[in-house]
């Protein structure tokens, strides 16, 4: 008898684009028990594919595997259950990469009856994959070459004659293998990081369309209704709920500026006197026209904005949220909210990650300002802070791999290969550009960036707020423990296929998820039981990365982390190098890894 009565279809779909064939594989209890779902399934599948290829995978080669996996809680009647993972070996880092997407794509994929989908190979021509319950077809679509994400999504729906089909597509950037190309669904929900869009592009996949009708298996429906409705009620009564529905993550701009962690001028400053021009209030006063939410989420953090006047008039975009407002705003010295909306729209349509884009354009501006780059390097066209026309041009050049954009499209690693003189001003870890939180005032955040498996991304362990608010007298042990706890609990959200925001932002208790998972699968688990699985998963990811060449030297935050902040509320703050070394050593020790960061799990 199987151990779980709900939560799983117990089926994985394998697609080979080279041959155009597909098959399903049944999954057993052990696989489910060890890896839970979502990112967990993805990592195990990538691990197996790596072994099959003798430990060597070219991220843009046909042998690389793309895994799309929602979790056992995706689409279930509970708050914010609309997430799924896109994972692969990242063309940005050469290591494990994944990105989580909101919206409704994951729900649809599960309703088609699959716990995960793997794709290898390369189609002979640009095509889209159509997963229609148990029918899988590969549809050539040369007519969509170069088309933006919005148009692609609409045209595929028209083609299939069904407005409700879910489509995850790439823009021209993915086709051009830009190392930070994203996958976009539900018009503007992105799996933004680690360049999964380029992996799709390398396989000649323009989009994955999916339609599913099946019931999501839930073991104890009545219990799920009871727990979830209590949860919805608690969230609805939270005193910050109104603020969330109005501003979403845009409220973080003021918070980050007040705390002194708002990236400004390529992370040189962490506080900006013009931040009021790019905050949530400015958005509400002049641009917001609607809310949007992922599946099952009462927080509706998505902001739909319209530029009503000026040179970008007519621009509609879903977004920005905090990361985009900071990376395309303060980090580039752009204080015109309409320009941020324009940049957001271009990135979504062309299919590039706003974090990496804002990060690398800032490098160009600072590099030119400091004479590390010449006018020739910039194709004879200078660029300065806040120069929104030139910044929009650069965004397009990146996606189209034209002029200087062709170098920026290679990501932090490619930029440094061509211009090694920029090494002190490119903020990245393992080749992934840093997210929009400065970490000099909170060394746990520096450790979080340094040890993150995918590179300098904030969602693996967002400890900066907690340390700044409560950690003035923390020793290194508390910091290391917090980072490890976050890396485990947050992995769990990605394994379940749910959003972390009700937990981190509205104080929703993590035990709730263990309880719900137990009722959905029909077997009792405590949060601690599940965290052990999360820890095992982190070890496995580390083993994948070590196998692919990662070492201790890749576990350090960007160089700028060790240079003091010179202004704002955290003026004078810096991450101390000795403290970092001690934290890193303790981190390895607590994880049971050796002094060089090698895990005790066979890497063969």
């Amino acid at each position: 008898m199987k151990q779980h009565n709900g939560g799983y279809f117990r089926k994985i779909l394998h697609i080979d684009m080279t041959t155009g064939s597909s098959r399903t594989e049944a999954v057993d209890d052990e696989f489910i028990e060890s890896f839970i779902g979502g990112r967990g399934f993805a990592i195990k599948l990538l691990w197996d594919n790596l072994a099959k290829n003798n430990g060597r995978v070219d991220p843009l080669g046909p042998e690389n595997m793309l895994v799309v996996a929602a979790g056992p809680l995706t689409g279930v009647y509970l708050p914010s259950s609309g997430k799924n993972s896109f994972a692969s070996i990242s063309p940005a880092t050469g290591l494990f990469g994944d990105s989580s997407m909101g919206g409704g794509f994951g729900v649809e994929l599960r309703q088609a009856g699959y716990d995960a989908v793997t794709i290898v190979g390369k189609a002979p021509e640009l095509s889209y994959v159509f997963i229609d319950d148990n029918l899988v077809s590969i549809v050539p679509c040369p007519e969509l070459k170069g088309k933006g994400n919005l148009e692609t999504e609409g045209r595929i729906r028209d083609n299939l004659g069904d407005h409700d089909v879910k489509v995850a597509s790439i823009g021209i950037a993915g086709e051009n293998l830009v190392r930070f190309a994203c996958v976009t669904s539900d018009w503007s929900r992105n799996a933004g990081r680690t360049g999964i869009g380029a992996v799709m592009g390398s396989k000649n996949i323009k989009a994955i369309a999916v339609r599913g009708q099946q019931d999501l298996p839930v073991a104890n429906v009545d219990k799920v209704i009871e727990i979830s409705e209590q949860a919805y009620k608690e969230l609805g009564a939270h005193n910050m709920m109104g603020h969330w529905q109005k501003q979403g993550l845009m409220g973080v701009v003021d918070y980050a500026n007040m705390m002194g962690i708002l990236p400004t001028y390529n992370f040189r400053d962490t506080h900006w006197e013009k931040s009021k021009n790019i905050n949530g209030k400015t958005m509400l006063a002049s641009h917001k026209i609607g809310n949007t939410a992922c599946f099952g989420c009462p927080m509706c953090c998505g902001n739909i904005n319209l530029v009503k006047e000026g040179k970008w008039a007519g621009t509609v975009t879903e977004g920005p949220e905090y990361e985009t407002a900071a990376m395309l705003g303060s980090n580039l010295g752009v204080d015109n909210f309409a320009s941020i909306l324009r940049g957001n729209h271009l990135c979504d349509e062309l299919g590039i990650d706003t974090i990496s884009t804002g990060n690398l354009i800032a490098v160009v501006i600072e590099g030119y300002e400091k004479d590390l780059l010449t006018l020739d390097d910039l194709d004879g066209k200078p660029v300065t802070w806040g120069d929104d026309d030139r910044i929009m041009e650069l965004i397009e050049q990146i996606a189209k791999c034209e002029s200087i954009g062709a170098t920026l499209a290679l990501g932090a690693k490619g930029v440094l290969e061509r211009w090694p003189q920029l090494k002190d001003i490119v903020l990245h870890v393992k080749g992934l550009e840093q997210s929009a939180y400065d970490c000099r005032g909170a060394s746990s955040m520096a450790l979080a960036y340094g040890t993150s498996d995918i590179g300098a991304h904030h969602t693996r362990a967002w400890t900066v707020g907690k340390e700044l608010e409560m950690g003035a007298d923390w020793g290194i042990e508390e910091k290391v423990d917090l980072v490890i706890y976050h890396q485990h609990i947050r992995s769990l959200f990605d394994m379940f296929g749910v959003c972390r925001l009700p937990w981190i932002e509205l104080g929703f208790h993590e035990d709730f998820y263990a309880e719900l998972y137990s009722e959905v699968v029909g077997r009792q688990y405590s949060l601690d039981d599940l965290l052990v699985k999360s820890q095992n998963l982190y070890n496995m990811t580390r083993a994948i990365n070590v196998k692919l060449g990662a070492s201790k030297s890749d576990d350090y935050p960007p160089a700028r982390t060790f240079i003091p902040i010179h202004s704002g509320p955290l003026a004078g703050k810096v991450c101390d190098k000795d403290e970092y070394e001690k934290m890193l050593a303790l981190y390895y020790e607590k994880r049971g890894w050796d002094e060089q960061g090698n895990p005790q799990i066979a890497c063969d």
Partner: protein, 187 residues
């Protein structure tokens, strides 16, 4: 007094909690595709998110289109006798709002019956943004009426200080109705 469901598309975020709440309560099944209310989304020109659900029409086109006469009205709620339904979907085609739904597992079309006329539709209860309301019939049209009335008024604005705080007040100056004489006489 009859009540029915009203939707306010401007408030809808597209989260589909209404769909899943409907399916899980009515059928004990976690499947938004088996809901009797669905959110239709249009983007980006224009941006619209709108729950579409039965209006319980007085002259119900679904009812008159049914070839086997199994759609009937009870206390103002339009319902389907499942036994006699032949699954031809003529009612689905006939609904001018597209508010009846079909799922491959179920022969009888899915149609809102106000949660079996229980007085508390689950979609209304669970909507987190107040986009789905359950209102007495006579309230329908009030919002349009108010907007229409307001469009005739001559709004003015004054700024003043109250307890040291700057405030604004909008008011209709009925004395200064420029160019519009409501008495029928000459000004």
């Amino acid at each position: 007094m009859r009540r029915k469901i009203a939707v306010v598309p401007e408030k809808c975020s597209g989260c589909r909690i209404c769909e899943i709440a409907c399916a899980i309560h009515r059928q004990k099944i976690n499947n938004p595709k088996k809901a009797r209310i669905r959110v239709t989304t249009i983007y980006p020109h224009p941006v619209v998110r709108m729950p579409v659900v039965c209006n319980q029409c007085k002259d119900a086109k679904c009812l008159s289109a049914c070839p086997t006469d199994v759609i009937y009205r009870q206390n103002g709620v339009v319902k389907i006798h499942e036994d006699g339904c032949i699954g031809c979907h003529a009612c689905v085609d006939a609904c001018p709002f597209g508010a009846m739904y079909v799922h491959t597992d179920i022969d009888v079309p899915l149609k809102c019956d106000l949660c079996a006329d229980s007085g508390q539709p689950q979609c209304v209860k669970m909507c987190p943004t107040g986009a789905i309301l359950f209102m007495p019939e006579h309230v329908f049209g009030q919002a349009h009426r108010l907007n229409n009335v307001l469009s005739y008024t001559h709004m003015k604005e004054i700024e003043y200080i109250e307890h040291g705080e700057p405030k604004r007040l909008h008011y209709a100056d009925n004395n200064a109705a420029e160019g519009r004489d409501r008495t029928g006489g000459e000004e």
